[in-house]
């Protein structure tokens, strides 16, 4: 069941006959749509709308509607002459097929590219979130003065909730993976642990059953779960009597109380299951420690009429008073409030805006190029126009006609551009980085079509304006007196060169952006990650549930897993680690060292703590710099040991031998054990390749058996090929263990700079198109200039000017244009460079080498573009040139 898109209806209401005739046709269409399947109906509806609008719209425009004879008499003159202009323009364009084709292709590229990028920006940045009054939703977390983001500590949240007045309500939630068992195929589920009011704050109602209430925040709440619509369909058969049924998550039985509406997502992610926070509070008393930031993030709905700024200042004031009341844990901890929509797209916003800017540049270049072609055409048609002016064609009428011509060609270009755009959009979505939010909401919709239409009409008017004014400037007799051979006026030539300067400048801006991105990618791929990423396969599994609570049992099982995996053919080494390089750390904690004074709490150092198996260093290909790595002597009962990275060693013990020093994870007063440093390894990139390496502490897996380890496998052949063998080996030990997140290390590295790669691809393509357009445009201008000056060149050569002299004369003229454009472009690129800074790595936004390289490249290309017509000029036969006069 569906209804016609608003734009289609708008179009129909304006084209169908008025009164009952039109109403009945529209009614038939609506009724027909109601019964059609939603997935195909949009396309069908547009086809019918266009077929109706084209047949009836034309009649209505021409006043041919036989049922409205009155209209025909009243038909305004303007419409009549407009129709005449359109027909005239179509005829004159058809007479110059090459010109028309070049203009159409240029416009289709410009408008197509900008429509595609606009669709991305529209789908991801502009379209409101699919919740009621999304503007009132605010995302809350805690933040340190250095800008580092933290999750929210539970006691702080409780105080916020009690003290604030800006929000209707505040909710808290955290992402949590859960293992579904008690089914045929155990599975990792994407879960979220939430406060009872979470869905109230968002404004979502259950489609079956109920959602949580305040009771679910208390520690004595029963184990209840809400499932997503997709989970309900796939795992529970979409059965409405599912309420009350039990599912087993992480070994605990939950009873289902409700099902969410289809398509519900939070911060761009799908979740399978939601469980209440109260249950967790009961089992994890450490949550009640104010110093623990345990992955929770807040969300609030602003009270009607309260601004974000007001809420922000209130939350900051609450944060400040908590700092005073709890200096031990809250010093330097503040509250950050951002609109939920901005939080969702925070990491892609910059990329999209840079691409949007780039595509704007490209569209302008396309327009300038087309304007250039039109000026040239206008110049060539000056004779025709003068004749018409002399015969009494009004100036306004001539200008109008030229504008109609440029609008016609630009609307046609826009229509072609839509086709190009929809293809390009598919390509962009395919190369977009994994995890780009709302990518499935991106589509070439009515808004994008409207954008393309507006862009093409504006283009038509803008680039039509120059030639129209230019051409209409000539007075009838003046131009008639001049012969056709003398060609266009000096004014039109100046205008064309002016346009070329703009075009070259814009092309340089794009080239500079592309150059910076290419350099960034070079730097990114050249970064030493600190390990050998080739031939590595990683995947994760989870030991959750009561049966795995025992450390000894977990450790023994993990040993067995490694033994089994090592015996898989083609596997040369295998290891386990709690966190993986590039992927980010799962366990960050402050720590203290025995032999140094303890700094104030807010200044305690923090490190990434990573339990790893003894085989980890060799499997990863890391270097040992000092001491030893873990081995069979590090057991659950032996003295506690650690290995640190180079950064930690030099930061904490500059100039000293770190081996033998003692270090403790946690607060100074925490009951955690002291551990002895036994070795130092090289730094490894932990959070992508662009972030600085954190302080790292490795712990032996035998002493800290992880419950959600990653398996790292080094292979002799292609790593992806051993995946099924490894899965079979692990399932041979425990068939209930879901393995997930299988990925080669090379892929993980590549996806960590996917954002930059996408920007680079788009910018390089745009810059290539821009360079081509600029070169073709310049060639056209110079070559036209040569044709015009054939006579002059002939005279010069007759008077003894050599080939070199003529060559220089022509090339110099083109070069002056290019140099002016390059200078302006460099200025523009420098001014805009700051906006791209956030996407760069290892290169500054004003990198002189890049700027010099692109300027030289642009000059090189333009010299070639000037040289070709110049060579033609140099070969002019003086007698031929003079005889033609």
């Amino acid at each position: 069941m569906s209804r016609p898109p608003r734009l289609a209806r708008w179009l129909l209401e304006r084209t169908l006959p008025r009164g009952v005739r039109g109403d009945t046709i529209l009614g038939d269409l609506i009724e027909d749509l109601e019964t059609r399947a939603r997935d195909r109906s949009g396309w069908w509806c547009w086809r019918q709308t266009l077929s109706l609008a084209s047949r009836y719209g034309w009649r209505r425009l021409r006043g041919l509607d036989r049922r409205h004879p009155v209209q025909k008499e009243k038909r305004p003159m303007l419409l009549d002459s407009l129709w005449q202009d359109v027909r005239h323009a179509a005829r004159s364009l058809a007479k110059a097929p090459t010109f028309t084709a070049v203009v159409l292709v240029t416009l289709a590229l410009g408008i197509g590219a900008s429509t595609a990028i606009f669709s991305l920006v529209n789908g991801i940045l502009l379209r409101p979130l699919p919740y009621p009054e999304p503007d009132r939703l605010v995302y809350l977390n805690e933040i340190r003065p250095d800008g580092s983001q933290m999750s929210v500590s539970w006691p702080n949240f409780v105080d916020w909730r009690a003290r604030q007045h800006s929000f209707d309500a505040l909710a808290l939630s955290r992402t949590e993976s859960m293992t579904l068992t008690g089914v045929d195929h155990p599975e990792r589920l994407r879960g979220r642990r939430i406060t009872g009011n979470f869905f109230d704050v968002i404004g979502v109602r259950a489609s079956v059953g109920r959602l949580f209430g305040e009771a679910e925040d208390r520690a004595d709440t029963p184990a209840e779960a809400i499932v997503s619509h997709a989970f309900w369909q796939d795992h529970l058969g979409g059965d409405r009597s599912v309420i009350g049924r039990a599912i087993t998550l992480d070994g605990t039985s939950y009873s289902i109380v409700g099902v969410l509406p289809a398509g519900f997502r939070y911060l761009g992610r799908d979740y399978d299951v939601f469980v209440p926070v109260g249950l967790w509070l009961a089992n994890n008393p450490y949550l009640l420690d104010r110093g623990n930031h345990t992955g929770f993030f807040g969300m609030g709905r602003l009270r009607p009429g309260v601004s974000l700024a007001a809420a922000r200042s209130e939350m900051r004031a609450i944060g400040a008073s908590l700092q005073r009341e709890y200096p031990k844990t809250n010093t330097n901890v503040n509250v950050r409030a951002t609109p939920l929509a901005a939080q969702l797209v925070s990491n892609v916003r910059l990329t999209l805006l840079v691409l949007f800017g780039a595509v704007g540049c490209l569209l302008l270049i396309a327009c300038v190029n087309v304007a250039n072609l039109l000026v040239a055409r206008g110049a060539a048609r000056q004779h025709e126009l003068s004749v018409r002016a002399a015969l009494g064609g009004g100036r306004g009428r001539l200008v109008g006609q030229l504008l109609v011509e440029s609008s016609l060609v630009s609307v046609a270009g826009g229509a072609l551009g839509l086709l190009v755009g929809s293809g390009l959009l598919r390509l962009l979505v395919a190369v977009a980085p994994d995890g780009t939010p709302r990518l499935d909401e991106v589509a070439l919709d009515g808004r994008a079509i409207l954008f393309a239409l507006t862009a093409s009409i504006v283009c038509g008017l803008v680039f039509g304006a120059f030639p129209a004014l230019q051409a209409s400037g000539a007075h009838g007799q003046q131009a008639l007196v001049r012969t056709r051979a003398s060609g266009s006026s000096a004014g039109s030539h100046r205008l064309r060169r002016g346009l070329m300067v703009v075009e070259v400048a814009l092309a340089l801006v794009l080239l500079a952006g592309a150059g910076l991105m290419v350099r960034t990618m070079q730097r990114l791929t050249a970064v030493d990650a600190g390990f050998r990423p080739d031939h590595l396969l990683t995947m994760r599994f989870m030991l959750s549930g009561p049966q795995w609570r025992d450390d000894t049992r977990r450790a023994a099982f993990l040993d067995q897993v490694l033994d089994r995996v090592r015996s898989v053919p083609s596997v040369t080494d295998a290891a386990l680690a709690d966190s993986l390089p590039i992927d980010g750390s799962n366990w960050n904690s402050i720590f203290v060292v025995r032999d140094k004074p303890v700094p104030p709490r807010a200044l305690l150092p923090s490190a990434a703590f990573t339990p790893v198996s003894a085989s980890y260093r060799e499997a990863m290909g890391m270097r040992l710099l000092n001491g030893r790595f873990f081995d069979a002597t590090d057991t659950a009962t032996s003295p506690k040991t650690i290995v640190v990275n180079e950064t930690l060693a030099t930061r904490l013990w500059p100039g000293e031998d770190p081996v033998g020093k003692l270090l403790k994870q946690g607060w100074p007063e925490s009951p955690t054990p002291w551990r002895q440093v036994v070795g130092v390894v090289n730094d490894v990139k932990f959070d992508g390749v662009t972030e600085a390496t954190p302080l790292q502490v490795y712990l032996p897996m035998a002493q800290e058996p992880s419950d959600g380890p990653a398996l790292v496998v080094r292979t002799a052949g292609p790593p992806a090929a051993v995946r099924s063998g490894i899965e079979a080996a692990v399932h041979g030990l425990n068939a209930d263990l879901p393995l997930y997140g299988a990925q080669t290390m090379d892929d993980m590295l590549a996806s960590s700079f996917a954002r930059q790669r996408m920007s680079m691809i788009v910018l390089v393509v745009f810059a290539g198109v821009a360079l081509t357009l600029a070169a073709v445009g310049l060639y056209g201008v110079v070559s036209h200039g040569v044709t015009e000056r054939t006579h002059e060149i002939g005279v010069r050569m007759a008077l003894g000017a050599g080939e070199r002299h003529v060559l220089g004369l022509v090339v110099r003229q083109g070069l002056v244009t290019t140099l002016a454009g390059t200078a302006i472009g460099l200025g523009g690129a420098l001014a805009l460079s700051r906006s791209i800074q956030g996407l760069l790595f290892g290169v500054t936004a004003t990198d002189p080498l890049t700027f010099a390289a692109v300027a030289v490249m642009l000059l090189g290309v333009t010299i070639v573009a000037c040289y070709l017509p110049a060579r033609r000029a140099a070969r002019v036969d003086p007698t031929e040139a003079l005889r033609s006069e």
């Binding site: 009952v20 005739r21 109403d23 009945t24 046709i25 529209l26 009614g27 038939d28 269409l29 609506i30 009724e31 027909d32 109601e34 086809r47 019918q48 266009l50 077929s51 109706l52 609008a53 084209s54 047949r55 009836y56 036989r66």
Partner: protein, 111 residues
């Protein structure tokens, strides 16, 4: 009025309207064409051809009130005028004459 020669699509439309009797709305005509003649027709072509048939005096229509399924918009119900029926007869007679004698080639009985 002399019989106007009918185009193929006009011919089919008249037959469908006649066949549907009192239920010949635009939507029903389109569906009947689809099921009986296996002809998918764009709405633009459908309504402009119906307009043309009306101009020729071969169909006429009355207005029926709309249902909620069409957001209350009215419905046009078409019927074939006596002229329309006459045109169909003439057309069939012409076709019959043309068919006659070709039974051997087409291997089908003509009536």
């Amino acid at each position: 009025m002399a019989a106007t020669p009918l185009g193929e699509f006009e011919h089919q439309l008249l037959l469908v309207v006649l066949r549907l009797g009192a239920g010949a709305g635009g939507l029903e005509i389109a569906r009947e064409l689809e099921t009986r003649a296996d002809r998918r027709v764009s709405r633009g072509a459908l309504y402009t051809t119906l307009d043309r048939l009306e101009d020729k005096g071969l169909v006429r229509w009355t207005v029926a009130p709309g249902s909620p399924a069409r957001q209350g918009l009215p419905r046009r119900v078409y019927s074939v005028t006596p002229h329309g029926v006459a045109a169909l007869r003439t057309s069939r007679e012409t076709l019959r004459r043309l068919w006659r004698g070709l039974e051997g080639i087409l291997k089908e009985p003509t009536s």
